[in-house]
C-alpha cells in the first residue's frame, strides 16, 4: 500500500535506510563550503569546559571555536601516536596501555599524566 502511494508521487522516493550514525545528534550542520566543515565538536560543550575554570571571566566566540578545533587536532595527534605503539605490538586494536605509553613517551603529553585515572 505504502509503495503504491509513494509511486504515485512524482518525486523520487528516498531510501530511509540506516544512515550511519543517524541516531546521534548532529552537533554542527554541514556548511555549504566545499572544504571540510569547520569544527565537529559542539561549541556549547567546549564553552561549558571553558566556563568551568573559575579564573575565566568571558571567552569570545572565536576563542571557543579555536579551542574546539585544537581539541580535534589533539585527538587526532594522540590517536596516531598511540597507534604507533599498537603497531609495534602488531595489534589492530588500540588499547588503553597504548595511550599510556604515548603519554609517557611524548613530552607534549606530560600534562596528561595522572589525569586519566
Amino acid at each position: 500500500m505504502a509503495a503504491a502511494a509513494a509511486a504515485g508521487s512524482g518525486t523520487p522516493r528516498e531510501e530511509e535506510g540506516p544512515a550511519g550514525e543517524a541516531a546521534a545528534p548532529q552537533p554542527q550542520a554541514p556548511t555549504s563550503a566545499p572544504g571540510a566543515r569547520l569544527s565537529r565538536l559542539p561549541l556549547a560543550r567546549v564553552k561549558a569546559l571553558v566556563k568551568a575554570d573559575p579564573d575565566v571571566t568571558l571567552a569570545g566566540q572565536e576563542a571557543i571555536f579555536i579551542l574546539a578545533r585544537a581539541a580535534e587536532l589533539f585527538v587526532e595527534t594522540i590517536a596516531k601516536d598511540a597507534y604507533c605503539c599498537a603497531q609495534q605490538g602488531k595489534r589492530k586494536t588500540l588499547q588503553r596501555r597504548d595511550l599510556d605509553n604515548a603519554i609517557e613517551a611524548v613530552d607534549e603529553f606530560a600534562f596528561l599524566e595522572g589525569t586519566l585515572d
Binding site: R45, T77, A79
Partner: protein, 147 residues
C-alpha cells in the same frame, strides 16, 4: 551533574569519528582507550583555557580571544597546531561574515517585498477603471446602428 571539570565530556560519537578518521582503515579502538582519549581531550581544553587566560590577564583583558588561545598552544609546545588553527580561524571569520551579510540581505529583501506588494495593489485599481470605460463605448455603438 558534573563533579569535576574533567567529567564534562565531549560527545563520544564525535570523538570516535575523529579517531577513526585519523587512523588507517581496519584499525579499531577499545572502549577504554576511546574513553581515555575523550577525557584527555577535556583535560586539554581545560589546560589550554588556563594558559590562554594567563595571556588575557597579561594583556589586562577580561575576555579570552583567539590570539590568547594561539599563544597558549605555543606555550604548551603544540606549535604544530598553530598553522592549521590560523587557517581554520580565517575560514571561520569568512563564514561568520557571510552569515551576517546573508541575514542583512534577507532583511533588505523583506523590506523590498512589502514595497512591491503596495505597488501591485495600485496597479489593480487602474485595470478596473479601464473596463468600465469599454462598456460605455459599446452602448454608444448600438445606438448609432439603430439610426
Amino acid at each position: 551533574m558534573a563533579e569535576r571539570p574533567e567529567d564534562l565530556n565531549l560527545p563520544n560519537a564525535v570523538i570516535t569519528r575523529i579517531i577513526k578518521e585519523a587512523l588507517p582503515d581496519g584499525v579499531n579502538i577499545s572502549k577504554e582507550a576511546r574513553s581515555a582519549i575523550s577525557r584527555a581531550a577535556s583535560v586539554f581544553v581545560l589546560y589550554a583555557t588556563s594558559c590562554a587566560n594567563n595571556f588575557a590577564m597579561k594583556g589586562k583583558r577580561k575576555t579570552l580571544n583567539a590570539s590568547d588561545v594561539l599563544s597558549a598552544m605555543e606555550e604548551m609546545e603544540f606549535q604544530r597546531f598553530i598553522a592549521p588553527l590560523k587557517e581554520a580561524l580565517e575560514a571561520y571569520r569568512r563564514e561568520q561574515k557571510g552569515k551576517k551579510e546573508a541575514s542583512e540581505q534577507k532583511k533588505k529583501d523583506k523590506d523590498r517585498k512589502t514595497d512591491s506588494e503596495e505597488q501591485d495593489k495600485s496597479r489593480e485599481e487602474d485595470n478596473d477603471e479601464e473596463e468600465e470605460r469599454l462598456e460605455e463605448e459599446e452602448q454608444n455603438e448600438e445606438e448609432e446602428v439603430d439610426n
